[in-house]
């Protein structure tokens, strides 16, 4: 039982929180801008690398530099939108998807060029986990990740439900044309969406880096599970994305548990396929997702 919690459930929750943060951004950009942003993974990587450099420069704790990493990443996202995506606002959706596919490789190559491809560590040293109740292992950095992720999700909730711009984002996610016909400044909502999505992506990248390390492919490895989470929760449903992220994360980690007999149910090498399988299942069975989001 303890093994189950320590080595499968807990890691699942942590991974799920990271997926959830990434998925909110994807769900919002998908819902409001109507395209799957393939460069979202690299946005997460960028956030982690910004945090790495900031930690190097200041010596602060990663959590302290997180807001600045988020701001820097958001600025990059706004710039990318302005130069590479905005020209396609009125064009067929396929154009901006290709553009984002290209952006994915461009951002990654900039990161590889600027920082090199060796693994880097965000939090030096090994931390010893606390042992509660003689058996439950809780590591400080995991508490940090889950706590911060929850805090961010709460902030997102407040933004979307209490602020004017948040409501405008939800409105535009329902119908961009109606939003325009209501007089809402759609370009401002789009900018806000990029800022929010990129900020959360940066946080996801930083948390993953805290949990593991900083490397150039980390965002791409997150891309599929994050997309799966967004689809699972329903496109345009930020709360769905949060739930979807947790479900995918936990499912991934639970897949290698010995449910039947001796060995893991699914060979750990295939863990990455769990998210994909769930996504395909969702697309076939209920494309609008658990929370009935958009189907385009």
């Amino acid at each position: 039982m303890m093994d189950f919690i320590n080595f499968h459930l807990m890691p699942g929750v942590i991974l799920g929180s990271i997926y959830a943060l990434g998925a909110i951004g994807i769900s919002l950009t998908f819902g409001i801008l109507r395209f799957a942003n393939f460069a979202h993974g690299e946005t997460m990587t960028l956030g982690a690398y910004f945090a790495f450099t900031l930690v190097q420069l200041t010596g602060w704790h990663p959590l302290a530099v997180l807001p600045f990493a988020m701001i820097l990443t958001a600025a990059v996202a706004l710039g990318v939108d302005r130069v590479f995506y905005k020209p396609f606002r009125a064009a067929p959706a396929i154009m901006v998807v290709i553009a984002s596919f290209g952006m994915m490789l461009m951002i990654r190559s900039v990161i590889q060029f600027s920082w090199g491809v060796q693994l880097k560590s965000l939090v030096p040293g090994i931390q010893r986990p606390y042992i509660l109740f003689d058996a439950l292992r809780i590591s400080p950095k995991h508490m940090l990740i889950v706590g911060s992720a929850l805090g961010l999700m709460l902030a997102v909730h407040l933004l979307l439900s209490r602020t004017k711009i948040g409501k405008a984002m939800r409105a535009m996610s329902d119908s961009p044309e109606l939003a325009r016909l209501t007089g809402i400044d759609t370009e401002m909502v789009i900018r806000a969406t990029w800022v929010l999505g990129a900020g959360l992506a940066a946080a996801a990248g930083v948390f993953l880096a805290i949990d593991t390390h900083v490397e150039t492919m980390m965002g791409f490895k997150l891309l599929l599970p994050v997309f799966a989470a967004a689809i699972l929760g329903g496109i345009g449903r930020p709360y769905g994305a949060m739930a979807g992220g947790l479900i995918i994360g936990i499912a991934e980690e639970l897949s290698s548990y010995a449910w039947l007999g001796d060995g893991p149910l699914l060979a750990p090498g295939y863990k990455a396929g769990v998210a994909f399988a769930l996504m395909i299942a969702m697309l076939i069975w209920r494309p609008s997702g658990l929370f009935r989001g958009k189907v385009f």
Binding site: F38, F84, V97, I98, G102, L105, F113, G273, F276, L283
Partner: protein
């Protein structure tokens, strides 16, 4: 004299690999250019074709499935069949998805295929790959061994081009064009849109499998991470878009052109720059290719050879 010979051999290799990329681009053109299907999983179907052909043609080995030692032509045909079959399975499930959903799904497919190839080491030797793959003409003296393979690849490109052009102007091609231009009208006319799309998808995947098979024989080696799958996938898209999506000539032109640029810049940077810079230059090259793509998308979406329409009266607002 030596230098000229070296350049000659280099050109042969350029045309061989460029020809293989042309096959990939033609396959993508069927799916994306003609039918609007965003297959981002090119690398997966390519890999399947490569492994199938490799396994069927290599000598027995303790490290992987094989030992059938069939002739290369069997391997290539089998590569097409298996890739096409997987394409059919994927198509059955995913063909109704909108373009970006399909892109996500196909990336997932490619990743899953890669995982299978990497994990099922009993069959594939895992990350270490399958080597000693037989190469056509390898027993001929140099340069004929290389020239022979190049001619084989180029003639396959020519045959493929011919067949695809015939298909494009035939009734099948017209229906595909109609579906892409105005799907509701095509449906109303009684066309089974899904069937046509699946056909296009399967054909494209089979062609990609062929390219994979050829590569396995050309390099005599294949592994799950052959040529950084995503970069290669991206490269094929860029080739098609720059050359002219929807146009078979454009696909071939784009492939050979881009491959030459890619390969030549790789050689130039590795020769002229010191080591650490040479590695970094790879990233610069990817960045520049990406940038060129963005410029083409914004300014010249039709590519160098824009698609020639079958009927002149159609509008111009379609995918590139």
């Amino acid at each position: 004299m030596d230098q000229a010979y070296g350049i000659f051999l280099y050109v042969v290799s350029l045309l061989t690999m460029g020809g293989i990329y042309a096959i990939l681009a033609l396959g993508l053109n069927i799916q994306f250019g003609f039918t609007g299907l965003f297959n981002a999983g090119i690398a997966g179907f390519f890999a399947v074709g490569a492994y199938v052909s490799a396994i069927l043609t290599t000598a027995p080995s303790a490290r992987h499935l094989g030992g059938y030692e069939l002739p290369v032509v069997f391997g290539l045909v089998a590569a097409m069949v298996v890739s096409g079959a997987i394409g059919w399975l994927v198509g059955r499930i995913c063909i109704r998805l909108r373009a970006d959903y399909l892109a996500i799904a196909t990336i997932g497919i490619a990743e899953t295929l890669r995982l299978i190839l990497k994990n099922e080491t009993w069959a594939t030797n895992g990350a270490r790959g399958v080597s000693e793959v037989p190469k056509p003409f390898e027993h001929l003296p140099e340069p004929w061994n290389q020239v022979g393979l190049m001619l084989l690849v180029l003639s396959i490109v020519a045959v493929l081009y011919f067949l695809l052009e015939r298909a494009r102007t035939a009734p099948w091609g017209r229906v595909m064009s109609a579906i892409r231009e105005n799907e509701p009208a095509a449906r109303a006319a009684g066309k089974n849109v899904e069937q046509f799309r699946i056909q296009a998808f399967v054909t494209g995947c089979a062609v990609m499998g062929l390219a994979g098979g050829l590569t396995a024989h050309y390099l005599k080696f294949i592994d799950p991470n052959a040529a950084e799958p995503l970069t290669a996938t991206f490269l094929v898209f860029v080739m098609l878009i720059i050359g002219g999506s929807g146009n078979n000539k454009g696909a071939i032109l784009g492939a050979i052109l881009m491959w030459t640029v890619w390969s030549a810049t790789e050689i130039a940077t590795s020769r002229l720059l010191p080591d650490e810079w040479a590695i970094r230059s790879a990233y610069v090259r990817v960045f520049l290719i990406g940038l060129v793509l963005q410029i083409v998308l914004q300014r010249f979406p039709g590519g160098i050879l824009p698609e020639r329409r079958l009927s002149a009266a159609k509008g111009d607002k379609s995918s590139p």
